[in-house]
Symmetry: C2
Subunit: 319 residues, 2 copies
């Protein structure tokens, strides 16, 4: 059932012991939503805590350090930035009944008792910003959490999901004293040594085809093991090949642990469809970003991808 | 002599043949200012053109393609985003008298007849945005140019110079239809193959000291020559070492062409002062970003920098 922002604010004022669930592999947006909303409720004198199936990254310490959570029996359970129940990860069994879901994914499947979805919001934190305002104002802890969610979900206002409203909310939050430059330094200009190592190996592996229009990069098992990089440290690395000038199809081969399966990511620029390309290998996705799996060693996968790309470019008449 | 925005608008309405000068090695802000202002004047039926000592990068084609410039004798000469006359480069002799300067550098030395400086503006384009509004409104060509200047001078709203006003202006410009996602893709997510090559070599060269707190990277003459990278393609590369987690002093050695002089860039995080460090070698700069030159081959420069960093960290008691 749908619910309005006004009804959300009214309901939240009437409940006392609230658990806020954020999605597994937590990112800036779900963390920002969870902690900002938690603070808003605590500021109203209510008991509130945030729960997540996975550990929250150390880089978000400037948000989480402001919170101490009590153990209590909730009378109201909220999920924020969680499009489907299985995205709660290992805590989905613990909370069978979700009273309220606040989200910005068009794919939300209305698993909660009441749901507010605004797919035009670049970040779920834009919605929580409105709710926090209705709950009695935004303090610096909330503002920093909300800015984090908005900034990270838009690639620092870079991506097409950013709207004029996104910028106006960021302006408001900055005027509340958010240390946005430091937040952005942590979120966008800090790479772990392991990530740097994998990136170096990956860059060294790049091969070009079709006159520089296709780039194939390989991330080997060996590189990941030697560097000690966790999966969470490699976020966004598959975008690298397409950032090279002239490349319209950037392919990343990621060798899996303990199997011969290679995970393939493709990123494209017009007129090439990454989705069409991945469909050739039984995968799919969006027009500009898609994926598939190839059940072969990386060298074989490389040859298959190269041949498929060359054939596709010939058929499309791209020279 | 100082001039107000109102007086600028009044003056610009009264002149007919205007040349707008932008600084040499032109960046997004000076280009955005120049072309937006030029368009505003052309929309008022005036003759106007932009002049630059250096070629404007191809990546700015979506701005420049909207302009055809006539040759005419100017009755008014404006410099935008040009803090000192020598930053005009090779055209500084051609235009002895500058009637008006519009700038956001606190270091502006008031070389023009009339000057408007607002050092609180993250980009000079923020000032030109106000002027364009006073001159009769902003069309899509102007809006795209202004957005480019604002986005590039703030690292896409990432850096500390960004203000709430910056965001509100960006919001206004976006509502005029600017293709901000494509502009940001060109400006921030596109690297030339040469740049990628140099970056790869540079990453391979990084050495860590002081328990990972100091990183020294070397950009060799050989790497630049082999890759064919122009200086303009290497913008920002010296920031790389400091982006590595844990690094508080990131040093870049850039081997010069045809000489033994090495150009050194240092970037730091608290409590280390890049400026103090570079002062040891007769250089200087800002607290977090400074530079110097070492008149030695790169291997010798490397040893000197390493030793100086280790000594400095010992003195500061950083472990």
């Amino acid at each position: 059932m749908k619910i309005s922002l006004e009804e959300i604010a009214k309901t939240l004022k009437s409940v006392d012991n609230v658990v806020i669930l954020i999605h597994h592999f937590p990112d800036g947006d779900t963390i920002g939503c969870g902690f900002a909303l938690c603070r808003a409720l605590q500021n109203l004198g209510k008991k509130a805590r945030v729960e997540c199936a996975d550990e929250i990254g150390e880089q978000y310490g400037y948000i989480t350090e402001n919170f101490v959570f009590d153990d209590f029996e909730p009378d109201y359970v909220i999920a924020v930035d969680v499009a489907a129940k299985n995205l709660l990860g290992d805590i989905k069994e613990k909370y069978q009944k979700i009273d309220l879901c606040i989200d910005h994914h068009a794919t939300n499947d209305f698993y909660a008792n009441k749901t507010f979805v605004d797919a035009k919001s670049a970040a779920a934190c834009e919605i929580v910003y409105e709710i926090c305002r209705k709950l009695g104002g935004i303090d610096l802890v909330q503002a920093s959490a909300l800015y984090t969610g908005i900034s990270t979900d838009t690639g620092c206002f870079k991506f097409s999901n950013t709207t004029s409203k996104t910028h106006r909310i960021a302006a408001d939050l900055m005027e509340m004293g958010v240390d946005y430059a430091e937040i952005n330094r942590i979120m966008f200009d800090t790479k772990s040594v392991s990530r740097m190592q994998v990136e170096k190996d990956a860059l060294n592996s790049i091969k070009f085809f079709c006159g520089g229009k296709v780039a194939i990069m390989t991330i080997t098992k060996e590189s990941r093991v030697n560097s000690g990089a966790k999966d969470s440290e490699l976020e966004g690395i598959t975008g690298l090949p397409r950032t090279i000038e002239g490349v319209v199809l950037g392919i990343t081969i990621r060798e899996r642990d303990n199997t011969d399966i290679c995970k393939i990511s493709a990123r494209s620029n017009p007129p090439v469809s990454a989705s069409d390309f991945c469909t050739l290998f039984g995968g799919g996705g969006h027009e500009r970003a898609a994926g598939c799996e190839i059940n072969e060693p990386k060298e074989k996968a490389f040859e298959m991808l190269k041949n498929a790309a060359e054939k596709m470019f010939e058929e499309l008449g791209i020279k």
